[in-house]
C-alpha cells in the first residue's frame, strides 16, 4: 500500500517536472527536479486531487514539501488521518 502510494506520488511529480519517473528519488528536492514556486503549488494541488486529501497550509510550520520523501510522508499522514476520521464518523 505504502509502495503504491509512493509510486503514485512519484508519477505525479515526474509529470509536473516533465521528467522520467526514474529520475525522481526520495531525496530529490523539488528544486533539483526543476519544480519552481508556482509549479510546486500546482503539484500539491495535483496530489490533493489525486488522493482526495487536504495538506496543511504550507506557510505553517507543520508541512515540509522540500523533498520528494517529505511529500510522500505528508500524503501517507493525510491518508491515515482520513481513515481515522472516517472510522470516527461511523
Amino acid at each position: 500500500m505504502n509502495d503504491t502510494t509512493q509510486q503514485q506520488v512519484f508519477e505525479i511529480i515526474a509529470k509536473q517536472a516533465k521528467t522520467d519517473v526514474a529520475n525522481v528519488k526520495p531525496e530529490s528536492t523539488l528544486k533539483d527536479l526543476g519544480v519552481a514556486s508556482l509549479e510546486a503549488i500546482e503539484l500539491i494541488f495535483d496530489i490533493e486531487e489525486h488522493f482526495n486529501i487536504n495538506f496543511p497550509d504550507q506557510q505553517g510550520a507543520n508541512f515540509d514539501s522540500d523533498t520528494v520523501q517529505n511529500l510522500v510522508d505528508a500524503v501517507q499522514k493525510a491518508l491515515a488521518d482520513k481513515v481515522a476520521a472516517d472510522a470516527g464518523s461511523n
Partner: protein
Amino acid sequence: MQGLPLRRVAITGMGAISPLGVGAEALWQGLREGRSAIGPLRHPDAERLRVKVAAQVPDSFDPATNIDERTLPMLDRTSEFALHAAREAVAQSGLDFRQDQLGLRTAVIVGTGVGGETTQDEQSRRLYGENAARAHPLTIVRLMTNASASQISIAWGLRGPTFAVASACASANHAIIQAAQMIRWGLADAAITGGTEACLTYGALRAWEAMRVLADDTCRPFSVNRRGLVLGEGAGIFVLESMEHAQARGATILAELAGSGMTADATDIVMPSADGAAAAMRQALDDAGLAPQDVDYVNAHGTGTQANDVTETRAIRLAFGAHAERLAVSSTKSMHGHALGASGALELVAVIGALRDSVVPPTANLDQVDPACDLDYVPNVARPMPVRAALSNSFAFGGLNAVLALRRAP
C-alpha cells in the same frame, strides 16, 4: 517634453470604507490605535472553507444610507464601497463640479483587482449550481471592472477621462498615479481616484486557499512567525486637483502627491524581485524631487508572506541606502488586511494621517523579530514623530510595482 512646467497635485478629499469602519477617520483612528480588524471569517460557507480569518467591512455598513434607491440595484459590492467613499471624499473637498464647468475637466480613475466578484459568484452559482435558466439582467453593469468609475462619473456629472485600472494588488496605486499624471500634464484639473475591492466570495476564497499564501491566524508582517496574508476588502477614494486650483479656492490640502514610480519585475509571475521594487521606489523619489534623507516614513506593501517581507526589506535598503536605518517602515495590512486592488488606497489614508498628525501607524502583531527583516517596523504601537515626506508601496502578482511619494501639505 522640455520646457513644459508640470503642475503640482494636491489631495483635498478622502473617503474610505474599510474593515475598521465607515469613513476615512474610522480607518485612520483604528490604525493609529494599532487596532486590528482581522477576525474569524463571517461567510455563509465559512464551515466548509479552509480560510479561517479575514478583515471584513463591518455588517453595520449600509450602502442605502448614502446611495439613492434607484442607483443601488446597479451596484456590485465593489461599487457600493467606491460610491460611498467617493461621497465622503467629495464632501470633504468642498468642490462644486458644476462651477466653471469643472466636471468637464475632471477625471475618474478607479483601481480594482477583479471588479464585481460578488455578482460573478452569485450568477455562477445560479447558473451552474441551481440550473437557473437566466442571469439577472443587471449582471453585466454590476460586474464590469469600470462600474465603480462610471457610477462616480454619473453621480457628479464628471466628463473627463474615466476608466478602471487593473493590476492586482497594485491597482489602487496605479490608478492614483494615472489620475495624478492627468492633472500634472494638464489633461484634467481635478480627479476622483482610488481603489475598491470586494473579494470575499466563495469562489475567490477557494482560489486563494489553493495558492497557499493565506495565514490561518492573523497577519504578522516582518515577524518571523508570519504565516501569510489575510484578505481584506473596502475602498479608498480621493479627490485630487492641481495645487494651483486648490490654493486659489482656499481648499484644505490634506497632502501633496509629489511623485510616483512604476516598474515591472519581468521575472516571475508571483515571486517578487527586490530590484524591481527598489527601482520603483527610486523613481518615486526622483520624480518627487526627494532625496532619501527627506523621507521619514514608508508604508510598506508588507503582506505578511514569507517572500514579500524579506524581499521588500532588501528593496528598501537598495533604494534608500544608509538612510534605510533611519526610516520608520510599517505595514498597516496587519490591521486592515490585504484589500488587493483597494489596498494602496486604504494605505494612502494611513500615509495622509501620518503626514497630518505626525504619527506613524504601527505594524501590528510583530512579536518575533526576523533576522532577515532588519528595519524599524514600528512594532505594535504608533509612534509620534514628524513626517515630512513618505512613500507608499504596492507590489502586485504579475511582478508589478507602483509607489507613491507624498509630501506634507505646503
